[in-house]
Subunit: 138 residues, 3 copies
Amino acid sequence: MKSYRKELWFEIPARRGFVNITPYVEECLRESGILEGLVLVNAMHITASVFINDDEAGLHQDYEKWLEQLAPHDPITQYRHNVGEDNADAHMKRQVMGREVVVAVTAGALDFGPWEQIFYGEFDGRRKKRVLVKIIGE
Amino acid sequence: MKSYRKELWFEIPARRGFVNITPYVEECLRESGILEGLVLVNAMHITASVFINDDEAGLHQDYEKWLEQLAPHDPITQYRHNVGEDNADAHMKRQVMGREVVVAVTAGALDFGPWEQIFYGEFDGRRKKRVLVKIIGE
Amino acid sequence: MKSYRKELWFEIPARRGFVNITPYVEECLRESGILEGLVLVNAMHITASVFINDDEAGLHQDYEKWLEQLAPHDPITQYRHNVGEDNADAHMKRQVMGREVVVAVTAGALDFGPWEQIFYGEFDGRRKKRVLVKIIGE
């Protein structure tokens, strides 16, 4: 069994944003030399997500609005976590969108359906944060 | 390390529906000959889910109603994604229910608690869509 | 490839609660002797979650309140699942928080960011329930 590990760093200039990280994960897979196995891609921070969906700008605006309805940022005093913090909502948004994805590796490629793309979802940005890529297989 | 891959195809006649796919995944596991490892089961489409919960018809009606409250289909014009499309809500429902499950394989069987069953959750059906089963182990 | 399996048992005295289970998972990892691989940690019951977030009491109170807004327990008659049962809301809360986490194992340790901790989330407690830890690797 082979294993491979890499950290990807992101600094989103706004509080929230989505970045298509598929090309970075594909580069990791090439570097790993692994042909058959599993890739784990996870946010290493608890106010960010890694998820798979469509690379479509309108949808990302819909996600932004929808998540804000499900777990509003304001008023920040509604959350007990917000004592010297203002990011409680980000901990909730991240649970809806998820921490991690696991993707099959087949014949050296990410084994994806037609529209699957991997995103980093930031809910408390404006600082450097990390995503972990771990690949195991042969 | 052994690996196994299979695509399962589903065509749900309505826009939304849940199908218990546990028997298909168990058949894949038997075909694979893998006794110890992990199974990844994921929707290959971004408006569908694979999740684990109870095979109980009342609960599935509750999920349908609850997801429709969290991310209503109508009015379709409330979503920017719906330009020539009407499935933005399906991209949200899928995030709540999840893309994938990872299940332990122990002694050649899915290592499940008493009520765990794997479901395909369709949120934009009436066409053929795929689920990927990838198994790695020994 | 090595594999390791253990069940962890929990009995939460209230209907709902969160328990930091990171030390138990770390103990499993030490017992396994696995240095590189993946750990799967999943609830074996369908009204409970395993998730990764912050070990902060205020946040856990926020989660409790927020989940109760998204999927209220009362009135129990609003759910079709609640025929001789009263836990339909628990099946929904578990979907928001997730069934499982997959964590990278690197150099014999859980490969975590600075604040990542693994929690058992109980939504229908007051009885013994199980979490599965499965580790594969070398």
